[in-house]
Amino acid sequence: MTFVLRMAWREFRSSWTRLLFFFLCVAIGVAAIVALRSVIQEVRETLTREARDLVGADLVVLSGRPWPDEVTPQLAAYLAEPRVLDRMEVVETATMASTEGRAQLIELRAVESGFPYYGTLELQSGRPWSTTLLQGRGLVVQPELLVQLGVAVGDTITLDRQAFTIRDVVVRDRVQGRNGFAFGPRVYIDLAELRATSILTFGSRASFQWFARVQSDEVDALTADLRRDFRRSLVSVRSWRTVEDRLGRNLTLAENYLSLVGFSMVVLGGIGVWSVTRVFIQQKIRSVAVLKCVGASSATVLATYVVQVMGLAAAGSVLGVGIAAAGIAAIPASVVTLAGVTSIGVTWSAALQGMAVGVLVSLLFALVPLLEIRDVKPLMLLRADTAPLAGRRGWRSVSATLLIGAALVMVAVWQAGSIAAGLYVSVGLLAVAAVLAGAAWGLVRVVAPLTRSKRFALRHAVVSLVRPGNQTRVILTAVGLGCFLILGVRALQSNLQEEFSLAVGANAPDLVLFDIQRDQVEGVRTLLKPFLRTVPGQEPPVVPLLPLLRGRVVGVDGARTQLATAEDVRRAGELAREYGITFRMDLADNERLVAGTWWTGPSTDTSGPLDVSIEQRLVDEHAMGLGDRIRIEIAGRVVDARVTSVRKVSWDETQNGGFIFVFRPGPVIERAPHTFVGFLQVNPGADVRGRLQRDVVRAFPNVSVIDVGTVLASVREVVDNATVAITVVGAVTVISGILVLVGAVAMAKFQRTYDAAIYRTLGASSRRLAAMVLIEYGVLGALAGALGAIGALALSWGVATRLFEIAWRPDWQTLVGGVVVTALVVACVGLAASIDIIIRKPLGVLRQG
């Protein structure tokens, strides 16, 4: 062992400049991994925290009616499991609040001590939120209520004939309610005090909820378990990870994207380390032969170079962590805050992972060529024509390659955090690498005739590309794979940003008006008109007021689904819930007809089944279809409906609401009791919403105005944070990816130095040498860039449509720009790496052989 260490020290001491390069390349690869993983971890934690703030718990179990007997024992057992760390009960219900002369529908949220588990409520008074404020008949209310009832903090209002005192006003409440928006201003009350009233006794519409804090690695599993067991009992389960609204989806997308980028960076860093290790080992072949000649065993030689590679990789990895720390510190604080992250630095786990990958990848890639040391023929020292390595691979080499391949796949699985994803990506990378190797083979054959070109620089550049032992395959593979990942990540980034900007785009409503009576429609329209948001140069919009009925399905007589009684429907689970129903002549902007025909005019029938259009979800989940008959109870009366069309609602763009059932207008449905609801976008401005609320309440006291702008602002904030995070991560990827590739390409210079020295000795001018290098590397860069871009196009398409399920928009600008930049960068790096030999005297190089 001492011999091995001594040799390592001697080699380091004498050729440290050369090793420094190796060392720096490893460091850059590791730095890229560490920096990115650290940023991703911080961003993920922030996003997780924010998403949890919106739910207020890790997991919420909800029931639209008092907990059914068949659910209670099982739910209690689940909540008592050790994976549930804490639990509390919350009830939300709508009730009337009144003062002398005024009454208002409110959304009561009754909570227990400790609510919420995550996030907090900001109070107008500035004091910290605590449920003790609610004790002794206290209330904390949203500001709208003060306007609507004309009261102030300290005043009392009446709920169920009992007086309650308004203790404070909540100005920021991120915990979303049961439906995303409430039926009136939200009012917090103590759960025990709610139970002491009779509000919950008269079959009022209440949502009974259990909030739970769960071991972080058990959230998904518990959610799945609960969902499976309570599928048929009208109990729903949501967690921040599985919120099925737009926000949850965006966060999942952002998280998947970050994982993908993190993994790509590992591969990129790995490519850099691989390219460096390969050259390092090639440079050592002659020394191996000499050592064998003077009596060293293969094991000694192997140990000598494994120790060197490991030492360099470990030191390079440590330096990489340092570079990552410096790089992260260089990210402007303003950008960090924009992403919602409070502080950012290298995380321990990222540092360890980066170092492990650095050492492991170096070792893995060094081992295959090093194992061939066994086959290094010392005879090469006697006969120049002896191949340094035996051509055929022994079983050791083959099994080592297989083992190392398996180890690399395991690294991939570890990094991707999923066996399927790791395998998928590994196979994908292998395929791209195979295509690139094929392209290299093709290139060598296509350009071979140019070796007869009359232009010296072109002829010799091509000779360099096609000669035995050329770098065509290596550079094409490294740069092509690199481009594939960098451009793929970039292209996905722009797709995601586009998607996110649509998500909380300009079309989302700020205010929702409920309970507008039929005779108030015109009055409300007139009142609202001046407040509506207008686009300059466009007609002022018509105030969109939709009729709203509430109904329950009580029977289905369909081709595939038969539910004869209300009890049968109840057993079908979700289908038994109360639905908001509307009738209208036109399809909404966010709807698309997928089957049947849409009506062309109102119905005149006063009897017989009514035409109804159902949403695709009923087809998918309850096997309903065209021609099915559905019985729906609306305000105590059962109407018979026939499905005449199926619509697909784009739930992402619900500026006008989304309805499962839409009826054809006609005398029967229009006679059913209904109110109108309006989804509005009002002019921006601090006081506009407040003024509108005051005006509406004064003119139409029964109408509830709900400001969803504040809820939406929270959502928008989270999504904006995710967008910034994705942009920052994308930028870091591109920069570090380019650095890694620069290292990989520059490393090849050691093989070029000798040739360049010979050309120089034979009288080639510096310009000629430079032209040769530029042509050779330019061609390689352009081809690698082009193949990488095509791969990136495929990657972004595949990931966007299959994995993320978002609309795919090819990002041509990035792709074309990527090819040009790659060709330029590779050509310039090739030139820069050869510059010393182009301008210096060649003798030193020739003497070193």
Binding site: L291, C293, A296, K377, L382, R383
Partner: protein
């Protein structure tokens, strides 16, 4: 004693099998100096490679001190070279990242020789390189590099010294110094010295000359 019996070497090239050394048999007695001569491509270096166990014969056996080295594996051959055979190459083949002294040290370190450093310094002094031990190969002239290579070949005091065109890369004056050095170390220590050479002058000073042409031994001449 080195003994070759019916040793041949055939390689497969693009044009089919090519015999670069036809079956040849001869013995080299202990302590003798033997020059293997012949034009380029006559099979001289191939023969030397077979003697050093750097290559395996296609047919026949090579024995060193009665041990048939043809049957030995790579590891045993490496050990054998470390103990019994010193090799000097035309292109010196010093390890570029090691100093002159360290290049001489390596075989002794591999063999676990005690007091190796002092012996390496003595060997360098013996080849006339006192004070140059800390220089790297790139800082030495061709002749100096070859002398370091000779010192390295002698490091473990091997009974056999093989040299492949040891003066082929040197000017005639330097070449003469190297020949004198090789002869002296051979004479002083009673080693067997096998030289592959083009150099008629070098061939003249050997005890025997084996002439090769087109892979055949065409003559074996004793001089003294």
């Amino acid at each position: 004693m080195i003994e070759l019996s019916e040793v041949s070497r055939t390689v497969t090239s693009g044009a089919g099998p090519l015999t670069i050394l036809h079956p040849s048999s001869f013995r080299i007695e202990k302590g003798r100096t033997v020059a293997i001569t012949g034009p380029s491509g006559s099979g001289k270096s191939t023969l030397l490679g077979l003697l050093a166990g750097l290559d395996t014969p296609t047919t026949g056996d090579v024995s060193i001190d009665g041990v048939n080295i043809t049957r030995l594996g790579e590891e045993a051959l490496a050990r054998l070279r470390g103990e019994k055979i010193g090799i000097v190459f035309q292109f010196f083949h010093l390890l570029p990242s090691l100093t002159a002294l360290e290049n001489v040290l390596v075989p002794m370190e591999l063999a676990g020789v005690a007091d190796a450093r002092a012996r390496a310094a003595a060997l360098l002094a013996d080849v006339g390189l006192t004070g140059r031990g800390h220089h790297y190969p790139s800082q030495l002239s061709g002749g100096e590099q070859q002398r370091v290579a000779i010192a390295r070949a002698l490091a473990n005091d091997p009974p056999i010294l093989l040299a492949d065109e040891p003066t082929g890369n040197l000017d005639s004056a330097t070449g003469r110094q190297v020949i004198d050095l090789l002869m002296r170390v051979n004479r002083d220590h009673g080693r067997t010295l096998v030289l592959v050479t083009h150099d008629p002058e070098l061939a003249q000073v050997a005890d025997e000359a084996i002439a090769l042409r087109d892979g055949h031994v065409v003559s074996q001449t004793e001089r003294a």
